[in-house]
């Protein structure tokens, strides 16, 4: 047989790894044909919504639902008293704590779910909510975790024994009724010794404010209990559909095979949609009670006030160094505000997530971290907002500490980073706080970044600007923000990563059709990352069938293999690996079939792009398409018919993407308005599957970083009122505030990942936040600024300028 097209064309036809394949998802979204949870309509579907607490801390004296039940269209009102006989008035959290589904005697944060009204439509539900009468007795409110640890106001009476003693929590001993855990990593005494004896020590306290992932689509679900078949179907905005199925089964007692969880299209997640929320439980109960499907959709205020805040870390650091700038030790203490319930979404053994990546990209010989989790009268959550389990906090901490040390040493911060980077030849590198970094080449990335932006030129310009400012020639300062980050993603090895006992492996199942097309199903779920596009690319390269002939399906627990879902940049590192491994199983069988068809030994054929060829005789081959057909339709001795494979992948290690970012900013000291002149982002995510999608992820992640650094926060007043409950007060940047970003890359493949990929979705957020913040702080460095807390909104920037005496 003669080859019609060149090998290069054959490669192109596959649209495999490395090409900027256009997204298969886009056709439906651009035509308004997405299928998000709120688009689901079922016969007789009802609508549920919550009566929420106006108080941050109060006892509930009574709930009167009689009037609500008279409202036309209202069918039922659920309270904790209704859920109690089912054992569903409380539910387990992902962090080993428990959380009220509906207020059981008291409320612990503003917006807490008090009663659930089920009605024929949203308007009737709203009328019903108005008619529910709740009598509250206000209690003292605590919104500050430091005060909480000193207060004699007990927030969680359920966690104090009758004799007043404090039983251990899920993560060990608790030292106060409002204390959740102490978690430590590294060596305390040696670190303290290094710091005590160091020639240079820089100390800083910083508050990483509370914020929220705020995807454009809020959380929601539709629960439908089919009493005839005894089967519960639950559609929802779930980043981890299988985990939700298991949790629903465990708390409801419905057997897992009778529960089908479906994540339809999801309008962004960023961590908001990992957890289990009272709305899901109440909808399920309401469907069981009414025998009808029940929909629950948060409004924006519900979303910002109640489901899944992020950050809220008070961090204190000490960094020790030689006078030349070689770092010798690092200490970090965190007081973590977890709100009224500990509902952080972290792997079980890591109550502070991967905060212990806080030695960053630097070769720091000795380090110690301790974290105290604390209850307050704020909403529960503590999710990873576009990051892998508190990595954003860790990277912010170290990238600020580096800057603070540079100031102390009167040294250039870029140079200080360079002399402390872990060297290429040190990988795999075991950090002082325990992680084994798989690979990296930091110096190359850093040098490339600094050269591209002409770092020295920028510093010279900045120096001139300071002169001009002092001479009264300008009112604008110039800041150069640097950050170099190492992420830890792809959770994770089952030996140390589980959530509620569920191992954090992931999976892929492939079925090749006889005519050479395929369907692959995964345990993950896309929320905009483009899995249907990129996973098909991985497979195309692995099995030699065109990506356009491969359907990727996720999110239906009745069909997809078990997996732990999509967050923490784990899809490519874990499910992507499972996909490659399943593809290799397909290939192994295809090899035997090809050898049979070509009448040679298995070892005499080899894979080449889209076919197996006889070694040394490339004109003799069988394409994967032909092999697929034969697999089903030809009796081959000793080989079962069919061509399918499944792989469950338990990663041997995390992956460690890294990057070098530079931001150039002009700041008007009189208005406090920062203008981003330039943002350069170099990312190393290992093997690149689809450069177009990587760039898109970087643009999006940087914009979320900009938001967090420059204004986005969930703020409370002293009474525990949320001050930022709508998009009027909660900052989401528009096209007007966002710059164009320059993207760049180096490629350091992960040595343990089957295709060397590391994950990228969260890097730009993790690296972006300190970069924007450092730019603001750097602008004020020449005038004596060491550190100011985020968010750097216009008013706070103005205030910094004012405090530094720049307003004359």
């Amino acid at each position: 047989m003669k080859d019609e097209i060149t090998r290069e064309e054959r490669v192109d036809n596959l649209k495999g790894m490395g090409c900027s394949r256009k997204r298969v998802e886009d056709a439906r979204f651009t035509q308004g044909k997405g299928n998000y949870v709120d688009d689901i309509k079922l016969d007789g579907m009802l609508f549920g919504d919550f009566v929420r607490s106006p108080y941050a801390h109060a006892r509930i004296k009574s709930i009167d639902t009689a009037a609500a039940l008279e409202v036309p269209g209202v069918l039922a009102v659920l309270t904790a008293a209704d859920l109690e006989p089912l054992g569903l008035h409380w539910m387990p959290t992902l962090a080993g704590d428990k959380q009220m589904v509906l207020a059981d005697g008291k409320v612990l944060f503003q917006g807490q779910e008090v009663a659930y009204v089920v009605a024929e439509d949203r308007y009737a539900a709203a009328d019903g909510i108005e008619a529910v009468e709740v009598e509250y007795d206000e209690l003292p409110v605590i919104v500050n975790p430091f005060e909480s640890l000193k207060s004699d106001v007990v927030l969680r009476e359920d966690l104090v024994a009758e004799d007043g003693s404090i039983p251990d929590g899920a993560h060990g001993p608790r030292k106060h009724p409002n204390h959740i855990f102490t978690w430590e990593a590294g060596d305390k005494d040696p670190t303290e010794e290094v710091i005590a004896n160091a020639e240079v020590v820089a100390t800083e306290s910083m508050y990483y404010h509370r914020t929220h992932p705020c995807p454009l689509e809020t959380c929601g679900c539709v629960a439908s209990m089919d009493k005839v078949n005894g089967k519960l179907t639950l559609w929802g905005t779930f980043q981890a559909p299988h985990a939700i199925r298991t949790v629903v089964s465990l708390i409801s007692g419905i057997e897992e095979h009778n529960i089908r969880v479906i994540s339809p299209d999801i309008g962004g997640g960023f961590g908001n949609k990992v957890g289990a929320y009272p709305g899901y439980v109440c909808s399920v109960v309401a469907s069981i009670v009414t025998g009808k499907p029940v929909k629950w959709i948060e409004d924006r205020m519900d979303n910002l006030m109640t489901t899944a805040f992020a950050r809220d870390y008070h961090m204190t650091g000490k960094i020790a160094a030689t006078p030349e700038g070689k770092i010798t030790g690092l200490q970090c203490h965190v007081t973590a505000d977890h709100g009224g319930f500990d509902a952080c979404a972290d792997p079980t053994k890591f109550p502070a997530g991967f905060m212990n990546i806080c030695t960053g990209s630097y070769d720091i010989p000795t380090a110690h971290l301790s974290v105290d989790g604390v209850y307050t009268n704020k909403a529960p959550g503590g999710v990873s907002y576009r990051c892998s389990f508190r990595v954003t906090e860790a990277v912010y901490f170290i990238e600020r500490m580096i800057e603070v040390l540079a100031i102390k040493l009167d040294m250039d911060a870029a140079e200080l980073r360079r002399i402390n980077f872990i060297k290429k030849e040190q990988f795999p590198y075991t950090a002082a706080l325990g992680w084994e970094y798989d690979s990296g080449d930091y110096h190359t990335a850093w040098d490339k970044a600094l050269k591209t932006v002409d770092y020295e030129g920028l510093r010279a310009e900045q120096a001139q600007r300071v002169e001009d400012f002092k001479a009264g020639k300008t009112r604008k300062l110039m800041g150069i923000g640097l950050s170099f980050f190492t992420e830890i993603v792809g959770a994770g090895p089952v030996k140390n990563c589980d959530i509620l006992g569920l191992g954090m492996f992931d999976s892929c199942e492939i079925r090749i059709h006889p005519t050479g097309s395929a369907i692959a199903r995964l345990g993950t779920i896309s929320q905009g990352q483009g899995h249907a596009t990129t996973f098909a690319q991985i497979l195309a390269s692995e099995i030699g069938l065109p990506a356009d002939s491969i359907t990727i399906e996720e999110g239906d627990t009745d069909t997809a293999p078990y997996g732990l879902g999509t967050y923490g940049s784990r899809s490519t590192p874990v499910a992507g690996a499972a996909t490659a491994m399943a593809g290799r199983k397909i290939r192994a069988k295809a090899q035997m079939i090809a050898a049979y068809l070509l009448e040679v030994h298995d070892n005499d054929v080899e894979f080449d792009v889209d076919r197996f060829v006889v070694k040394g005789a490339p004109e003799k081959f069988k394409t994967m398409k032909e092999i697929a057909f034969a697999a089903y339709n030809q009796a081959i001795p000793g080989i079962e018919p069919g061509l399918e494979a499944v792989s469950y992948y338990d990663p041997p290690n995390m992956t460690y993407p890294f990057g070098a970012y530079v931001c150039v900013m002009d700041i008007d000291v009189d208005t406090g308005v920062p203008e981003i002149r330039r943002f350069y982002a170099l990312d190393d995510c290992g093997t690149r599957i689809n450069p177009m999608i990587i760039e898109g992820q970087v643009h999006g992640g940087l914009t979320e970083a900009l938001a967090v650094a420059l204004g986005q926060e969930i703020a409370y007043d002293d009474m525990g009122n949320v001050k930022t409950g709508t998009l009027m007060d909660f900052f989401l940047p528009t096209a007007w505030e966002v710059p164009n970003y320059e993207t760049d890359f180096t490629v350091t493949p992960s040595p343990h990942h089957p295709i060397g990929a590391k994950g990228v979705g969260e890097s730009p957020h993790v690296g972006g936040v300190p970069c924007f913040s450092n730019a603001v702080q750097d602008a004020f460095r020449p005038f004596g600024n060491t550190h100011t807390n985020m968010p750097h909104d216009h008013w706070r920037i103005w205030r910094t300028a004012n405090e530094l005496g720049l307003h004359g």
Binding site: K22, Q31, G696, H699, T726, T734
Partner: protein, 164 residues
């Protein structure tokens, strides 16, 4: 509950007539009553633009308008902008230039962009950024949305020139 009102609309070329409470919001009419689910809800406070539709030639956030206020109006939603056999250049450009990720903002973005390009067929980048500032996207960082709109504008202008 107050008396229902008699409302007539023309949505994507189709006449609709129904009785609704005065408080019924237009986004609710579109999504729940007429099953037009392209326009989405992101905030219900006029901030995000996910619910953007065109009403009598103007971009409107349908979450903060009563159906009764739209009585007699002609409304175009994303569903009326193109169809699988005849896509609007913006729909093609958004795919070509990766102008979307989760897709939740996309119907509102494209609907708004059709008006922007009608009002100003040759916008600068700055004009696009300003003209699109009523539509929030949480995923893309806007860079590729701008690119998509620029590409669609070029495409539409070239087509117009060719036709002249």
């Amino acid at each position: 509950m107050s008396k229902k009102m008699h409302i007539k609309l023309n949505v994507n070329g189709k006449d609709e007539e129904f009785l609704a409470e005065p408080r019924e919001l237009l986004i609710y009419t579109l999504r729940e009553r007429l099953n037009i689910t392209g326009p989405h809800i992101g905030c219900e406070t006029s901030h995000c633009g996910a619910c953007t539709v065109t009403i009598d030639g103007k971009s409107v956030k349908s979450c903060t308008m009563f159906a009764a206020q739209a009585d007699g109006a002609e409304i175009t939603t994303i569903e009326g902008i193109g169809n699988p056999d005849d896509l609007h250049p913006l729909q093609t450009a958004f795919k070509e230039h990766h102008g979307l990720q989760c897709g939740y903002c996309t119907p509102g973005m494209i609907t708004r962009a059709t008006k922007l390009l009608e009002e100003n067929p040759t916008p600068t980048e700055e004009e696009i950024r300003f003209g699109m500032a009523g539509n929030i996207c949480r995923c893309t960082g806007y860079q590729n949305i701008i690119k998509s709109i620029q590409a669609a504008a070029a495409e539409m202008n070239a087509a117009k020139e060719a036709a002249e």
